[in-house]
């Protein structure tokens, strides 16, 4: 799963899709996840980073990760949305 190359993400969590003109806001942890995805990190690498930084467990991460990725797909922000 890759984030489209042209998607812009600012430090404030503002996302802009220049192809569609759509914009979105994510909270700080959403921004962190998105940045890691944009940097090309895979799910395992993101899990390691999140588990190290936040008090959460593997199962919670797994659920939240797929929720988040589904939302990204839904809004056509990923390469695999077809």
């Amino acid at each position: 799963m890759k984030i489209k190359k042209n998607i812009a993400l600012s430090d404030t969590g503002f996302i802009f899709n220049p192809s569609t003109g759509e914009s979105f806001s994510v909270n700080p942890i959403g921004g962190e996840m998105l940045k890691m995805l944009k940097d090309g990190k895979d799910k395992d690498a993101i899990r390691d980073a999140i588990l190290e930084k936040y008090q959460t467990d593997d199962a919670t991460f797994e659920r939240d990760y797929y929720d988040f990725v589904n939302i990204l797909n839904h809004y056509h922000l990923t390469e695999i949305d077809g």
């Binding site: 802009f16 220049p18 569609t20 003109g21 759509e22």
Partner: protein
């Protein structure tokens, strides 16, 4: 470098809730680095706001409606040209274009240049001919049909699935969910714009528009795609954003190359959930949101004036993605004397 002095006449001063492109076209010309413009406004009604915007319109003359015929239009233009020295006219209404195209040669003799589509271009992109147009140029268009009588409405279910879009010849479009609604819109729109009424299959998706300028030889002088962000109940963009959509730009350039489009145009496209574009309409003129293109780096009205007088035009190759426009309304205070003057003398 000294700017080139030029007098340009512009119609479409109706900066109302369904705005004409006149005022943004004038703003674009006023900001030109190449031209020093004097603006002559052409109006049809005494309450068109542009008439009273003296900081951007130097003088306004009322002109007769297209329904009055081209003879009276030409007569009026002859009178106006005796007072002014208009070098270029930019008509901004679909409904008046045909009249101006008809008298283009006579206007040229008066010294007034335009840069309009040819009759063939104007006709083949017409709403009534859109299906054939799509077929000829390989662009997907929603299925449509022109109807001339209310008796045809109840038979539409054979070819269409509701909802459908009910469209006027020049303006107005409403979405109808059943035959009764089609009947209502048929009567409403035909009483204003005449027949036929076009029934178009409704396409679900997001609306994208492109403003473009063709040089008449197949080259695209400029093009900016926009996505509507805020839409009024008349379907007009009240806010929009310049986007980087290469598919749309490619379609636009190909269309201009194939048709050798001459002048300004607006492509109205619908993008479906399957990422397919359908051409909904082509407007053969500059759209009211033209100032977004100027803000994004393409002064297309300036380029159009250059084309009209035969000056060299360098095509725009880029624009600033993410530039937005947000429209607003503004109450002007106007003295009764001014309203009286334009109403009585037809000029201000």
């Amino acid at each position: 470098m000294d700017k080139k002095k030029i007098t340009v006449a512009v119609t479409g001063l109706n900066a109302v809730d369904n705005p004409g492109p006149g005022v943004p076209v004038i703003r674009a010309l006023k900001e030109s680095d190449y031209f020093d413009v004097r603006i002559i406004g052409f109006s049809y009604e005494s309450l068109e706001p542009g008439i009273y915007m003296h900081d951007i319109v130097d003088k306004t003359y009322q002109i007769p409606y297209p329904s009055a015929g081209t003879d009276s239009l030409l007569q009026r233009l002859e009178y106006i040209q005796e007072q002014e020295h208009i070098e270029v006219l930019i008509p901004n209404f679909d409904a008046e274009l045909y009249s101006f195209m008809k008298i283009e040669d006579s206007m040229k003799k008066l010294g007034i240049n335009m840069f309009l589509p040819t009759f063939e271009q104007f006709e083949e992109r017409h709403k009534v001919n859109l299906t054939a147009f799509g077929k000829k140029y390989g662009i997907k268009v929603p299925y449509d049909r022109a109807i001339f009588s209310t008796s045809e409405i109840f038979g539409l279910t054979a070819d269409f699935t509701y909802p459908v879009v009910v469209k006027g010849k020049y303006y107005d479009a409403s979405i109808a969910y059943n035959p009764e609604q089609v009947l209502t819109y048929f009567n409403k729109i035909s009483s204003k714009w005449g027949l036929p009424i076009i029934i178009q299959q409704f396409v679900y998706g997001s609306e994208y528009n492109v403003i473009a300028l063709g040089d008449g030889k197949g080259n695209t002088v400029g093009a900016v795609p926009m996505r509507k962000q805020f839409i009024t109940d008349k379907g007009k963009a009240w806010a929009g954003i310049a986007i980087d959509e290469q598919d749309l730009l490619k379609t636009t350039r190909e269309l201009i190359a194939k048709t050798k489009w001459r002048g300004g145009m607006e492509l109205e496209m619908m993008k479906t959930q399957d990422n397919e574009y359908y051409l909904i309409e082509i407007n053969p003129r500059i759209p009211a949101w033209v100032y977004l293109a100027v803000g994004a780096g393409q002064n297309l009205p300036e380029a159009l004036v250059k084309l009209a007088i035969g000056d060299e035009v360098k095509p725009y190759t880029e624009f600033k993605v993410g530039k937005m426009f947000i429209r607003y309304s503004w109450d002007m205070i106007v003295d009764l004397g001014e309203f009286e003057h334009i109403s009585t003398y037809g000029e201000l």
